[in-house]
Symmetry: D2
Subunit: 450 residues, 4 copies
Amino acid sequence: FSTPACGGGPSVMEDLLARVVAPLPTYETRDKAPPPPELNSLEFMNFYKSLEKEDKLNLLSKLSQDFGVDHKGASELAVKLLDTQLRDLATILQVEDRLRYSLVPRYRQLLSHISRVEGGVKFLVDLRSDLLEIISSKVCDTAQLRDLNGTLRSLLSEWFSVGLLKLERITWESPCDILQKISQYEAVHPVRNWTDLKRRVGPYRRCYAFTHAAMPGEPLVVLHVALTEEISNNIQGIVREFATLDAEEDANKINAAVFYSISSTQAGLQGVELGNYLIKRVVRELQSEFPHMSQFSSLSPIPGFASWLQGLLSQWRKEGRGLELLSEQEWRTLEEATDCTPGTGAIDALRKLIGTNEWTRSERLSLLLEPVLMRLCAWYLYGEKRRGYALNPVANFHLQNGAVMWRLNWNADTSPRGVANSCGIMVNYRYFLNETSQNSALYLQNKLCM
Amino acid sequence: FSTPACGGGPSVMEDLLARVVAPLPTYETRDKAPPPPELNSLEFMNFYKSLEKEDKLNLLSKLSQDFGVDHKGASELAVKLLDTQLRDLATILQVEDRLRYSLVPRYRQLLSHISRVEGGVKFLVDLRSDLLEIISSKVCDTAQLRDLNGTLRSLLSEWFSVGLLKLERITWESPCDILQKISQYEAVHPVRNWTDLKRRVGPYRRCYAFTHAAMPGEPLVVLHVALTEEISNNIQGIVREFATLDAEEDANKINAAVFYSISSTQAGLQGVELGNYLIKRVVRELQSEFPHMSQFSSLSPIPGFASWLQGLLSQWRKEGRGLELLSEQEWRTLEEATDCTPGTGAIDALRKLIGTNEWTRSERLSLLLEPVLMRLCAWYLYGEKRRGYALNPVANFHLQNGAVMWRLNWNADTSPRGVANSCGIMVNYRYFLNETSQNSALYLQNKLCM
Amino acid sequence: FSTPACGGGPSVMEDLLARVVAPLPTYETRDKAPPPPELNSLEFMNFYKSLEKEDKLNLLSKLSQDFGVDHKGASELAVKLLDTQLRDLATILQVEDRLRYSLVPRYRQLLSHISRVEGGVKFLVDLRSDLLEIISSKVCDTAQLRDLNGTLRSLLSEWFSVGLLKLERITWESPCDILQKISQYEAVHPVRNWTDLKRRVGPYRRCYAFTHAAMPGEPLVVLHVALTEEISNNIQGIVREFATLDAEEDANKINAAVFYSISSTQAGLQGVELGNYLIKRVVRELQSEFPHMSQFSSLSPIPGFASWLQGLLSQWRKEGRGLELLSEQEWRTLEEATDCTPGTGAIDALRKLIGTNEWTRSERLSLLLEPVLMRLCAWYLYGEKRRGYALNPVANFHLQNGAVMWRLNWNADTSPRGVANSCGIMVNYRYFLNETSQNSALYLQNKLCM
Amino acid sequence: FSTPACGGGPSVMEDLLARVVAPLPTYETRDKAPPPPELNSLEFMNFYKSLEKEDKLNLLSKLSQDFGVDHKGASELAVKLLDTQLRDLATILQVEDRLRYSLVPRYRQLLSHISRVEGGVKFLVDLRSDLLEIISSKVCDTAQLRDLNGTLRSLLSEWFSVGLLKLERITWESPCDILQKISQYEAVHPVRNWTDLKRRVGPYRRCYAFTHAAMPGEPLVVLHVALTEEISNNIQGIVREFATLDAEEDANKINAAVFYSISSTQAGLQGVELGNYLIKRVVRELQSEFPHMSQFSSLSPIPGFASWLQGLLSQWRKEGRGLELLSEQEWRTLEEATDCTPGTGAIDALRKLIGTNEWTRSERLSLLLEPVLMRLCAWYLYGEKRRGYALNPVANFHLQNGAVMWRLNWNADTSPRGVANSCGIMVNYRYFLNETSQNSALYLQNKLCM
């Protein structure tokens, strides 16, 4: 119902923006200026929320175009800065400060004021989520929208600074609305029902979340941990095999903490580092609960491996390569099993085989494929880079955090999804706490992972 | 014990800074760069806390000088910005963004990381308190220290944004450590003992504070309110006359809310607006508790009036002016009372009289002085400006908030302090909520108060 | 595995009882005697919990037989009481007190000490639940077991006195384990899933429970309320028709509170009045939330009506009565519809018809049956008594509470259960708060309901 | 203002009682009878609270006399019980139950209903406090008032059963109103000011209290503990020597827990065992906080020792005994110091000396007196009995709890009060947890303390 009446109309929108986006105070009065009336922020928020998707795009475009940096002012100060280069330091510093202030977009002030209103921070997180969708959909990717996004991101980074976050342990005694959200947000290994959920917060499990004072009742990033005797090599034992719900934990049986799922819940907080901090906070928490625990590791999926593999095989086929993947004996086995002709046909057969999950039901095929898939997967994780970083996003996340790739696990996720995504392979990234800083620095500088 | 060994020594300090103040990531990697190890922040904090005052000064000087903006890089980008003025907008925006990034001082990153550590935000608030003391003491006022201060202030402004603050009502059921702090922080009308304190949070009183998740148990700004039948014209009835502690509030007797004390507790949050927001939050809170309440007013001291008056009289004496202050009859009364000679001597006698509080004990003198002191006080508050704003800081605070000067009150603070500071006069600044925005804007633009 | 080894063996049991059920102190030392060691209570609790059903019965029998009142001592004091009848009052009072003490069963002290141990009160509630099952199953109904039951009930009545109960409102923000219990305990209109549950604690609904400090996390009695424009005449609109979960309550649309379900959760608290108090506490709670609300009513099922009706018709058939139930015209309609012969056959047909729920699908039959079933139901509720009280237990509960029967509702519960139990009829018992005391007293004295 | 109008008048009082103290239901309807309207309880409570002391006495007298047991009914049932002695057990049990019911005073029901009203339990605790005062003042000690007291006490014992109490640790973060009460209730070593109070809940100290759901914010019994390296031999080091308030506890320095003060706060709960349970709960709490702690001991005053000693000396003087108390050499020293004549005069001098605290300032006298006073004190504590129990009430309390007398300490309480009460001597009663049950039983049976 995007009629002009409801607010989408250009003149209504322009009027509103002109009214609520106050001009920046002059440099001289910047510390004295009173905040604009709270009503301005509320009016903007209500107007925006009432808009249809398309009109939101229009509004954000207009905001970013007409209420950004005063380019003329900035360039004048740039001239001035150059003129003062030979002057004393105090003068230079002052011009720099003026220049810095001139580079503040006018809308930054609106965003800042909105954050002060009840529900304002959550509003901005959601607005940025819309903005990211617009930018990534390339419907209307302008330089100005990216600038708006950058401004928002840096504001959110300050507000969601770790010092302002609260670690909460989620249990079956936590409020139901929180648990329902935990269930909905779980993207890695979907929660099937409330019994399943109860198990994930029950004995031998821990579930932690960061929350923020400005968004009460809203877990921002959620980490699921299994407490095990040794580092798990498959996910079935964690999320599918039913342990009794009422078992009491025996601390003597707990030697390892396995992070088997980490989910960010707010699209609008993309690029604001939370997961890394959560993992490290949780490690400290667990160390104080279990002083003798020394093994901390993820059990991570490898999204994209299967489709990367299909691409590779397809290219090899074109290039007539790939026969060295298997021994002659193995090719023959494959030919028999798939009823195909040798040579190019066999590569095709291999592709087709991997494309389904039927091979998982044949022990012979499974044994045949294990060494080759494990080898290729190791290469995918170690060797495939994008701009120097690991191509696989999960690998990149953990390596940036300073974890090390520790073990590939065959038959680790036998769910249809697991087989389709990564031929059932999962990987452990291990956290040696006193080495993560160094690992992380090395990874980012040398773009090498250990 | 500021020996080199304990850390003050230049080389130890320089080593430390070089180690913990990481270089800024390049513009390209600024979003990817991992945070430096938390240990860096902790090391800096512990080192700083162990220092003597003088060495703190050294450290902050060095930090602000050697780890600030890369001036060369900034000027190069200024050149580049000028070169791109005729290019497309996207290019301009990008150079602006690079320039903006180049103007970020290197130490900003350290401050940001410290805020993420437990106790880090409180540490920075205290560090800024030291910094402000150094700057205002002019021991070492450099442009760089002011820049460091500006950076800290803008970071603190984001972290102490109102959306992140929590309003708490303080009662006799609040934790004892909070109440003890409330008592210590009360600067306007000192709390004498626990019974006095109990009354200030008891019936017909309200005490509110803002707290912040990163500084638990620490009230940041405290507002004391008296609930009265009409707007109070003196402070004695509020803080000195003992009402029974156990009286039950009768809502029918409550028509006005009188803000009789507001105190900021953290020197390091100077310039971060909190008091203004607290008053307005409290007005909303009270309106929801007492829907029919419509009178909101401060009962404020007028610090500086008496000493301003002494200066004025001293100058008038020199200039031979001031005789019009009183009628002939009144001068004669004064001469009699003070046993002085007419003319200049009388002005002297007046000065001397005001310099003590003896006149308060004489009804005749008191009656004599009331009209003249009230007139002069009105002029002091309305007419005396500094850079266009009210000279009196309390007046400036309330007028900036959008309140209006409403009534001067004679015999309003008969304590020795009250008489010494402002001849016992107090003033009500009244808050008409739907006019504060406009008033505030007018005050700041026209520098006129209504 | 009720082997002697595990504790069931007679000698083990007897040994245990002899050890843990301390003899009563003498009358003289009754106030000085120290409590027996807590270990005794724990030992008894662990032993009892380890027993199979049958052995529990043995244990309770033995406890009630061998550790009850000292009959000889009591009769001696009865003699003494008669001897003192002509003595002074003080003497009489003292003998009465000794006699009273002599009538305390020895096991009462054990029960009292168990209540002091952590988890002890819950243990006794569960033990009484076992005891009631034994008594009602008549496996072993002895006078002593009934005495034990009476002792337990009177102790529980003191511990679950309303002054010690806490009213809690259950919402979607309540702990998940509580909500799961609320869902499981709902006996009247079963909760189908979590969405259903969320609605029952959502807008236009209230859910309250009593909890007790000695049984944390355990709702004892649960009341579900619908907030409506007028007193509901059917349950479908409350528990089956989906209102949007996110609707905001409009207080202007709320005129009535309809109690549509009340469930006791602890079998062992039978006879300890909780429901009555809960309803009245909730009425007060709602009155303070909605000061203008004036209509409070239950919407109650009528369990037993259909089977009572079958019995009645069966008897009438034998006695050749019942033809006046319908008019001739109506009988004919019925005969047509059911294809039966007139006379006795028609009564049979009527019985058969009511025995199924097919008639609910025929508008004609439904119309035909409505007046007669409503009339009979009214008679069932008003006229059928057991020992002077309403035969129907739900009616008896509300009438004892002082409510009045207000309206019978046709087609009020169209679920299969509702039709099978009460031909789909439900009844409103209305609470006029300032009349309940009098109504209750009248009902109980005159055994008349208004 | 005890005028008849205000309620004290006999007819008003009688009317009220007749109205609010409902007759007991008959035995047959005792489980069915609805509670009387809550208004009855409220009316009684308000009436009682409005009365002057004297009228309270009248009311309680009347209540206990006119609304007690139906003596005639009781004696008839006593006859019946004797008649059934040869009948079957079920019949006997039933008559016993009827007899038991007939011995319930009519007012018990009123008390029970009052406990259900908000504030009712606290009301009854206070009413019993009045009642105890009346009884002990012997103004009006009747058998009936003692009966009323017994009934109240047994009801309160059930409601304040330990299973219903909550252990709370009091710290400087506890609500101010609680801390104020803790301060006021401290009877053993009075709290001087808030700094003193802060130390008593600070490092190396613990303060625990039992609270009850029906009396929120009201500590019922308070235990102060000092955590020390070894069992303290004086109180000065605990309550008078100022340790720094901000010291951090070093768990390695904590080997002993010294209970240096225990206070009951509710006179109306006399005879309801709380202190014993609190000490034992706290021991368990401390054991879980400091697993290696093994020494638990009181540091207790010895009230009454000095006055007992004066009595003893006075008697000895009359009987011409007591010369063996000191050696000749010691007598001479005493004679010199006090300037008295030998013989009877010396005993007089000794009495006089002990009657002041001057000897504490003379090292010589102090050394002289130490052995004799310590010896006499040991005798006082061990040997002086009242009805077989320790005469000293503090000793009796700890010995009943199962503690053992462990050490007498000279110069243990040098405050004027300490010297006046017990010549500065204090005693440690030590708790060996696994022996307290047995000790307690032995003490009570053999009336022997170990």
